[in-house]
C-alpha cells in the first residue's frame, strides 16, 4: 500500500515537472508578452498543483500534508497577483497586444510580424 502511494506520488511530481517545462516552452514559443504570461501561468497552476499533490502522497499524512496545503494556497494567492502586476505594467507602459487569429509558428511570414518589424526564428 505504502509502495503504491510512493509510485502515485512520484508519478504526480514527474508529471508536474513536465507540465512546468511545457510552460517554459510556451514562454519561448508564444509571440508577445501577454500570450507568454498565459504560458507561464501553466507552471503556476498545473505544475505547482501536480507537484504539491505528489509531495502530499509521498509524505506521511499529518502536519506535512497541512503545510503543503498552505504552500499551495499561498501559491494560488500570490501568482495571479504577480501576473497581474506584469500585465498591468506592460499595458500602462504602452505595450499593445497582437490581436487576431494567427498561426504563431509562421513567424516572419505573418503580416503582423512583418509590419512591426519583429524578427522571430
Amino acid at each position: 500500500m505504502a509502495d503504491a502511494l510512493h509510485w502515485v506520488g512520484g508519478g504526480l511530481v514527474a508529471i508536474g515537472a513536465i507540465w512546468s517545462i511545457m510552460g517554459a516552452v510556451g514562454v519561448l514559443r508564444f509571440p508577445d508578452v501577454y500570450t507568454r504570461i498565459h504560458a507561464a501561468s501553466l507552471t503556476d497552476t498545473g505544475g505547482a498543483t501536480l507537484m504539491l499533490l505528489g509531495m502530499a502522497f509521498l509524505a506521511e499524512p499529518g502536519i506535512v500534508t497541512l503545510k503543503l496545503f498552505f504552500v499551495w494556497a499561498f501559491v494560488m494567492l500570490t501568482t495571479p497577483t504577480a501576473s497581474n502586476a506584469l500585465a498591468s505594467a506592460a499595458y500602462s507602459s504602452g505595450h499593445r497586444p497582437r490581436i487576431g487569429n494567427f498561426e504563431f509558428m509562421r513567424g516572419n511570414d505573418s503580416p503582423e510580424a512583418a509590419t512591426k518589424g519583429e524578427s522571430r526564428p
Binding site: I37, S41, G46, L66, L77, N84, P97
Partner: protein
C-alpha cells in the same frame, strides 16, 4: 470599536496558524510567537488592512466551495493552453476585452480578477470601477458566458455577511 474586534480575530487566527505550523510548546518559542503575532498585527494596522475584507472567517466555507469549482475551470483551461504549446492546435486568437462585474465589494473584485488571472489563457490587465480589462489567448474560450458564471459564483462567495466598503 471595530478595529479591536477585527484585530482580536486576526491575532487569534495568526496564533492558531503559528501553532499549527510549528507545534512548539516551550516557553521560549511561545514567547517568540507572541512577538511575531504582535509584529504582524502592527504591520497590518499600518497597512490599514485590519477591516472586514481582511477578516473572511464567516466566508471560509463558501470560499472553499468556490475554490473547488475554480479548480475544475483551471484544469480545463490548462488543457486548452497546453494543446496550443505542444502544437496540437497551431492557431491562437488573442483578444483584449472588457468584462463588467456585478460585485461591489473590493474583496469580490479582487477574487474575480485573481480568478481570471489564475485561469490559464486569461489575464486581468486593469480594473477600473466595475469594468475589468482582460487579455485572452483564445477569443472563443473566453466568451462573455464563462465570465458571467465566474462573476456570479465569486461575488456570491465573497459578498455574503453584510455589505463591505466599495
Amino acid at each position: 470599536m471595530r478595529f479591536m474586534t477585527y484585530g482580536f480575530g486576526l491575532a487569534a487566527a495568526l496564533a492558531v496558524f503559528w501553532f499549527a505550523m510549528s507545534g512548539e510548546t516551550s516557553p521560549l518559542f511561545l514567547g517568540l510567537s507572541v512577538i511575531a503575532v504582535l509584529a504582524t498585527l502592527w504591520i497590518s494596522a499600518r497597512l490599514k488592512v485590519v477591516d472586514r475584507d481582511g477578516s473572511p472567517y464567516l466566508r471560509v466555507l463558501p470560499l472553499m466551495l468556490y475554490t473547488g469549482w475554480l479548480l475544475g475551470e483551471i484544469i480545463k483551461a490548462n488543457l486548452a493552453v497546453v494543446t496550443r504549446i505542444v502544437g496540437i492546435r497551431q492557431s491562437i486568437d488573442p483578444a483584449m476585452m472588457e468584462i463588467r462585474t456585478g460585485t461591489r465589494t473590493s474583496l469580490g473584485k479582487a477574487l474575480f480578477a485573481n480568478s481570471i488571472t489564475l485561469t490559464p489563457g486569461t489575464v486581468t490587465v486593469d480594473v477600473d470601477g466595475q469594468v475589468l480589462k482582460v487579455h485572452a489567448l483564445v477569443r472563443e474560450n473566453a466568451g462573455a458566458d464563462s465570465f458571467t458564471d465566474m462573476d456570479r459564483r465569486s461575488s456570491r462567495a465573497a459578498d455574503i455577511g453584510g455589505k463591505g466598503r466599495d
